[in-house]
């Protein structure tokens, strides 16, 4: 077990290095002079040269990369080119926003998708199953931002049940925090649930085709109880993988949702930084998002060991 964890950690670190390098290469490929963009028009050549030196863009590529990485290890993601604020300062208050949105969305997606996926699998020839599958298909085909805008229109503007957009930190007012998150979480969760239902369905369908499921029924479990006793655990093996992959798309989906609902999260910071070409910020946020995804992947791998005794035992021998 310990060796397995160690090996996984090694892979995780290697992946981080690879990912950070990729991000750095891409963000360094910027055509044109960064200093000119930062200073805006009207800057003198001296001002430009000074800026270049300040940014370090006049040094060799690898040196810049290594500096970036070492600084990051010390928690320093650099300073925004424009606001001159540390990137960590910019990101810190936004982590909570994106975190609430992503975890809320994922939770909702799972809560919706698990039962519906089971229905879609077990009742796949009757109307409840067909209806669920069809609804999921349609749900998957709807652009998330479109769904969000329509929710804003209906619940925010027409009915005025919920605030159409904006954010209130949890610490300031929990009630308003929740009311502001309802629409975005529902949008993200429902759309992701539609995707998830398919996976849950096919994971359950696979279980239904397994001999042990038939064995379970042969000793007297009903369809549903056999599925809940023997299905969920086994299906979760493949579902955990899917959830890991799904999380990546939930995080990315959050970028769009944050824009629709004007949530001050990492996604909107990323988009703002993209709009202003603040590549230090873009780089920092991308790194954090990718870090999160890789971390989840590692967690998923480790959770297999916990779920599947076959893997656990392999370590023992």
């Amino acid at each position: 077990m310990f060796r397995q964890l160690l090996g996984r950690l090694g892979i995780f670190l290697l992946s981080l290095v690879a990912a950070s390098f990729a991000i750095f290469v891409i963000t360094q490929a910027l055509p044109g002079d960064v200093a000119a963009v930062i200073l805006g028009h009207g800057a003198t050549p001296e001002q430009l040269a000074a800026k270049r030196a300040e940014l370090g863009t006049d040094r060799p590529f690898l040196v810049q990369y290594l500096e970036w990485v070492t600084a990051m290890l010390g928690g320093d993601f650099g300073r925004s080119w424009f606001s001159h604020l540390p990137v960590t300062t910019l990101m810190a208050p936004r982590l909570g926003v994106t975190g609430s949105l992503v975890s809320g969305g994922l939770l909702l997606a799972v809560l919706i998708a698990l039962p519906l996926g089971a229905v879609a699998a077990l009742r796949r020839r009757q109307w409840p199953g067909l209806l669920t599958s069809a609804t999921a298909q349609v749900g998957m085909a709807i652009p998330a931002f479109w769904a969000g805008i329509i929710l804003v229109f209906v619940f925010g503007v027409l009915l005025r049940w919920l605030p159409p957009n904006g954010y209130v930190p949890l610490g300031r007012d929990p009630g308003r925090w929740a009311s502001h998150l309802v629409l975005p979480v529902v949008t993200l969760g429902v759309i992701q649930a539609a995707v998830l239902v398919r996976y849950v369905r096919s994971a359950f369908l696979e279980v239904l085709a397994e001999d042990y499921y038939r064995t379970a029924r042969s000793i007297g479990w009903t369809k549903w109880r056999a599925l809940s006793r023997h299905g969920i655990r086994n299906a979760s093996l493949s579902l955990v993988t899917v959830l890991g992959l799904q999380l990546a798309s939930v995080i990315v989906g959050a970028i769009v949702i944050e824009r629709v609902f004007v949530l001050p999260g990492l996604g909107s910071l990323l988009l703002d930084a993209v709009a202003t070409n603040d590549l230090v910020v873009v780089r920092g946020i991308t790194m954090v998002l990718v870090f999160a995804v890789l971390l989840i992947n590692a967690a998923v791998d480790i959770s297999y060991v916990l779920i599947d005794p076959r893997l656990r035992a392999r370590e023992a021998s």
Binding site: I23, Q137, V138, W146, Y213, A248, V252, V256, N277
Partner: protein
């Protein structure tokens, strides 16, 4: 039932393709002439679906937009398949450590979902349809590698490949004669699903202003533009939204239908 799924999907995809083809020879109005008609008209005659904020006939624009949708999908999926499939087959052939390294690399690549990569590339190289397509294509490569490798592994482990090797068939011939045809359906399924994803991703990018420029009739762009007028002119957002949903649904259904149709295991489930 499975067939129904496939048929509905095929019908939708055919409709999209037909729209794209028709748009080459005929559109009711010029799909790019700005200010030629009254703006923000409701559906009626002669503008069947109304006009947009620039006074362009929406129906014409929807027709031409089908081209963009297909274009985005074809290029993105094309990149992903052209790179991913050979790499996938190679990964199946490589010795353990080589394959392991390659799969770990795809894991890292998986950490850059299409939208994130597109945003990153847009930040650096500027937003355009091409950037979006390339980003979506690159981000989809790992999916193709995985699918192809999984398929190729089982093909390579099969007895008919063993028999072919015993019959002295060289490796490239095995790849072409045995592996490719037997993973083609998996690739087809993946392509179909990725196609749908590409269309959705392009729409999201256009909404964020990082995708197709406004001059090019694209459903994603139309939807992005139309949402500004949603409160006053809801039908503006309806048509491109429906078009996207229909195309995505079509490709997803085709993919799923193919999968269920081709996977005997799922067909015979108890």
């Amino acid at each position: 039932m499975k067939r129904a799924e496939l048929w509905v999907g095929l019908a939708l995809v055919t409709a999209v393709v037909a729209m794209a083809l028709v748009s080459f020879v005929w559109t009711p109005f010029d799909a790019t002439a700005v200010g030629s008609g009254p703006r923000l008209q409701s559906p009626g005659l002669p503008h069947v679906l109304g006009t947009d904020h620039m006074g362009i006939d929406i129906f014409s624009r929807i027709l031409v937009g089908a081209r963009s949708a297909l274009y985005v999908g074809i290029i993105a999926v094309g990149i992903a398949a052209l790179v991913g499939v050979p790499l996938g087959i190679l990964a199946a052939w490589l010795p353990r450590w080589g394959a392991e390294a390659m799969m770990r690399a795809t894991d890292v690549a998986y950490a850059f979902p299409a939208l994130l990569l597109a945003i990153l590339l847009a930040a650096v190289f500027g937003a355009s349809t091409e950037t979006a397509m390339v980003a979506i294509g690159i981000a989809t490569i790992p999916a193709f590698i995985r699918v192809t490798r999984a398929g190729a592994l089982s093909v390579l482990a099969s007895d008919y490949v063993l028999a072919a090797r015993a019959a002295g068939t060289p490796a490239p011939a095995i790849a072409v004669r045995h592996v490719l045809p037997n993973v083609a359906h998996l690739i087809g399924v993946q392509a179909s699903v990725s196609f749908a994803m590409a269309i959705l991703a392009e729409a999201a990018l256009s909404y964020l202003g990082l995708g197709t420029p406004p001059t090019v009739p694209s459903w994603g762009r139309m939807l992005g533009d139309a949402q500004t007028y949603l409160f006053g002119h809801p039908t503006q957002a309806l048509w491109p939204g429906l078009a996207i949903a229909a195309a995505v649904l079509g490709f997803n259904l085709v993919g799923d239908g193919l999968r269920d149709f081709l996977d005997p295991k799922l067909r015979e489930v108890a």
